[in-house]
């Protein structure tokens, strides 16, 4: 039986970042991964947010063959089946008002996990972490009521005073430690992905830097398209319809919804223009929580990334969260070793620091953020919003068919007719704004509260669609 300072279970982004941080801090670190190579089974989008470049300096040197910068996000709103044509499209570049330079430059970078995961693992190994592939952890070792190590399928045991569970959404470590049984159907989504390859020149001509696209439509969950250097991942449904509780309640088959989106004429035209060829069918689950989970640590153990349920509450982005929590957990592990304290109380400081960190901040107004996406998943609401957007766009800008001043003058009646729709949006947005502004802009807080009171009174009669 071998002894380490720290054992990390799972070499996804969370585990590798934890192992890297720990090894750099001089901890004797073991990183265990069930796959034959890192990333082998980690189906994901995958687009890495610019936040990661802000927070992890080692990404400056990252150059992977599959990388494609996304400097344009596109949302396509389709008409209902069987037509499924584009009714409304919004495209946007990064905003100059973003708070750090990387976010003013790009949204995300699309890439393959089978390149990204090994990149991170290699950094951890270079820093001194010991990697063991083909190592399926099937049990934990307990000592004096604390987690004191892990057991592999073959029975082999490894001991360390601290273990980090970075074993993803189905975390066996979390279950064995008694931190949770399994996610409830309203906490977790089931998403499918089709991988397409396409010639790089076609990608450069047709997609260029519009690397993140989403397809919405009445009844659709919001399917996403992520572009990398020589292909795209079409994934879905988006969080609303892939939420297991909703899927089973509404009889939505996630795989079927994705294939329906694939058959939509605009998607077909894009794929043909790209000369895209389907190469792989993938599926993976993903948590979608409206608040940060409570049970993420106990004596001798911390959970990071998906194992802890950290994907954010709007569209469930999770890799930066996994990396951030991995680094934080490794820092707490180092302190615990210095203090010789591995008690539940000491580990609890991980949960507290996580809550105060930018990862925790992503959960502010989590319930409203989730609600926003859920609204788009409601066929009637989505159809109303879609037609309102079309009316506004046509009458404000694209008025070539009618006398312009007259058409533009219709804006007021369009807005008036859409008061219920706007109110429904306000019902989600105002509490959201309030929660943020209470901390950051105390000056406006009372004003917003006043508006909310008025709106709430106005809406108390279940006004809406």
């Amino acid at each position: 039986m071998k002894r380490y300072d720290l054992i990390v279970v799972g070499a996804g982004p969370g585990g590798s970042t934890a192992a890297l941080t720990a090894a750099e801090a001089g901890l004797k670190t073991l990183l265990l991964e069930r796959s034959a190579y890192p990333g082998e089974k980690n189906a994901s989008g995958f687009a890495l947010s610019s936040k990661a470049w802000r927070d992890f300096s080692f990404l400056q040197e990252m150059e992977l063959p599959s990388m494609r910068y996304c400097r344009q996000c596109v949302a396509h709103f389709l008409s209902p089946p069987p037509e499924m044509e584009e009714r409304f499209v919004v495209a946007s570049g990064p905003s100059r008002r973003m708070s750090y330079p990387e976010a003013r430059d790009f949204f995300t970078v699309g890439m393959l996990r089978r390149e990204f995961d090994p990149f991170l693992v290699e950094l951890a190994e270079k820093a001194g972490a010991e990697l063991r592939l083909n190592s399926l952890v099937t049990g934990l070792v307990f000592e004096a009521g604390r987690v004191a190590g892990v057991r592999l399928e073959g029975g082999e045991e490894y001991r360390a005073p601290v273990t980090i569970g970075a074993d993803g959404v189905l975390s066996l470590v979390a279950r064995q430690a008694g931190l949770r049984d399994k996610w409830k159907p309203h906490e977790v989504t089931s998403v499918c992905i089709v991988d397409f390859t396409a010639p790089r020149e076609r990608m450069d001509d047709v997609i260029h830097e519009a690397g993140f696209q989403a397809y919405f439509g009445p009844g659709m969950g919001g399917n996403f398209l992520i572009a990398y250097a020589d292909g795209v991942h079409l994934g879905g449904p988006g969080v609303t319809n892939s939420l297991i509780a909703r899927a089973v309640r509404k009889g939505i088959k996630p795989a079927k919804e994705l294939l329906e989106t694939l058959s939509a004429p605009p998607v077909q035209r894009l794929l043909r223009a790209l000369e895209a060829e389907p190469r792989e069918w993938q599926a993976h689950c993903l948590t979608w929580m409206d608040r940060m989970p409570e049970n993420v640590c106990c004596g001798g153990l911390m959970l990071v990334g998906d194992a802890a349920g950290l994907p954010e509450p709007l569209y469930a982005e999770g890799v930066w969260q996994a990396m951030y929590s991995g680094r934080l957990a490794a820092e707490v592990a180092k302190e615990a070793l210095e203090e010789g304290d591995f008690s539940p109380g000491f580990m609890r400081s991980y949960r507290e620091r996580l809550e105060e960190s930018p990862v925790g901040e992503e959960f502010v107004a989590g319930a409203q953020l989730r609600q926003l996406f859920e609204m788009l998943g409601d066929p009637r609401v989505c159809a109303e919003l879609e037609e309102m957007a079309v009316d506004l766009a046509v009458h404000l800008l694209m008025t070539g068919q009618e006398p312009k001043a007259e058409a533009m003058g219709r804006i007021f009646s369009i807005l008036a007719e859409n008061v219920p729709a706007l109110m429904s949006l306000a019902r989600v947005y105002l509490p959201l704004l309030l929660q943020v502004s209470e901390e950051k802009m105390r000056f406006y807080a009372s004003l917003l509260r006043g508006i909310r009171n008025i709106v709430e009174n106005f809406l108390s009669g279940e006004l809406g669609f």
């Binding site: 089973v248 389907p278 792989e280 689950c285």
Partner: protein, 95 residues
């Protein structure tokens, strides 16, 4: 307008699985209430409903993507999920 060729996806031909030498999904038939959640959610259609009960196709070891959706969708605790042993199961070449 000319008829364009449609880009279709035959999901079964697009997965690479090295069959697991042992079982890793365990079905407790006596707990199943026949709700059909597993059959609906499985991205590889590996669950079938027969006579008001679920059943897992025997060839699941050759097709399962280890996503755990069936296990998470079952509210009757009729499905237990582990992973196939190291060196087997699904390989994504373009994850």
């Amino acid at each position: 307008m000319s008829k364009k060729h449609t880009i279709d996806v035959d999901k079964f031909s697009l997965v690479k699985v090295k069959p697991s030498p042992r079982n890793f999904i365990f079905f407790r038939e006596e707990s199943c209430d026949g709700c059909g959640n597993c059959a609906l959610i499985c991205p590889m259609d590996l669950w079938r409903m027969r006579k008001g009960r679920a059943s897992l196709l025997a060839k699941y070891r050759e097709r399962c993507l280890e996503c755990g959706s069936c296990y998470l969708a079952c509210e009757k605790e009729a499905i237990e999920f582990g992973y196939p042993p190291a060196g087997s199961g699904v390989t994504y070449e373009r994850a």
